[in-house]
Symmetry: C2
Subunit: 161 residues, 2 copies
């Protein structure tokens, strides 16, 4: 049980788009070369971000992707849900209703939700809350705190300036 590598790819790509600034789209090939990623697979992830409303895509020649809104308005949770989907970490199969134990139990026992599911859900809520409280702008600022020239280096690394 672990997040796919698409999450890491997506976050770094969004950060790079933020450092580039400007409204002109950037092609997948450029973004992929920036971190030596598979262009085709990165493209698949970026399409997920477009569906989630985090990116805008420009088709055709000189096309690419650009941020749909500033990074201050994008949380880590937004990215994770866009890539991984919004299904819960823990899926309750309601096994409490099956088998020889359930046969003996009155129906009233199942009126309340499964307490195991509730416990797991509380933990997942804490995880989502922590992710939602961190915007990509926060992550960006933390990175720049000890490397003030980072933005200009990223622009040069992606062929800008």
């Amino acid at each position: 049980m672990r997040t796919g590598k698409g999450v890491e790819w997506a976050v770094h790509t969004l950060l790079n788009l933020g450092w580039l600034g400007g409204g002109e789209p950037v092609a997948t090939a450029e973004l992929a070369a920036g971190h030596d990623l598979s262009p085709s697979y990165l493209n698949k992830q970026l399409q997920q971000l477009v569906k989630a409303g985090l990116l805008e895509s420009v088709p055709g020649a000189r096309g690419g992707f650009r941020l749909a809104r500033p990074l201050e308005a994008v949380s880590m949770l937004d990215v994770v849900l866009a890539i991984e989907g919004d299904e819960p970490l823990f899926r309750c199969a309601e096994i409490r209703r099956c088998g020889t134990i359930a046969e003996r139990l009155p129906d009233s026992s199942f009126a309340r939700p499964c307490t195991v599911n509730s416990a797991m859900h509380r933990a997942e809520a804490a995880w989502r809350k922590a992710l939602a409280e961190q915007s990509l702008a926060d992550v960006q600022a933390e990175a720049e705190a000890h490397a003030p020239t980072l933005a200009s280096h990223v622009r040069r690394g992606l062929g800008r300036d």
Copy 2:
């Protein structure tokens, strides 16, 4: 990205062993029948719990599994880590060090840990903390709160009493 169903199986099985009480071992077949689970696959999960020190196994005829310690001393986190392993949810591949962007960056940029990894790690810490704060005894008590006769029904469902 989701937890395996083994987690749900393990938690319910541990709760049932708690309700049974007593120190005599219970066979996998009985525990599996209680929730209509695959006995062989449940056995695999229970072996993980033995390795983690949550259960004790008794081999041979009249053997089975019994709790290694009371449920008050077992947290939800203990069970999740026993089944899923203690690897982090987010695995940082350090892609920041690769590609055309990294080539332009001075080595000092990588002195600090990756801020993306840090952000994901903070969220995971909140998740683990929430899991660690809930013991199986708490979950048990919550289940009994609205079904006081639950323990006796479980015992009957597993052929006791």
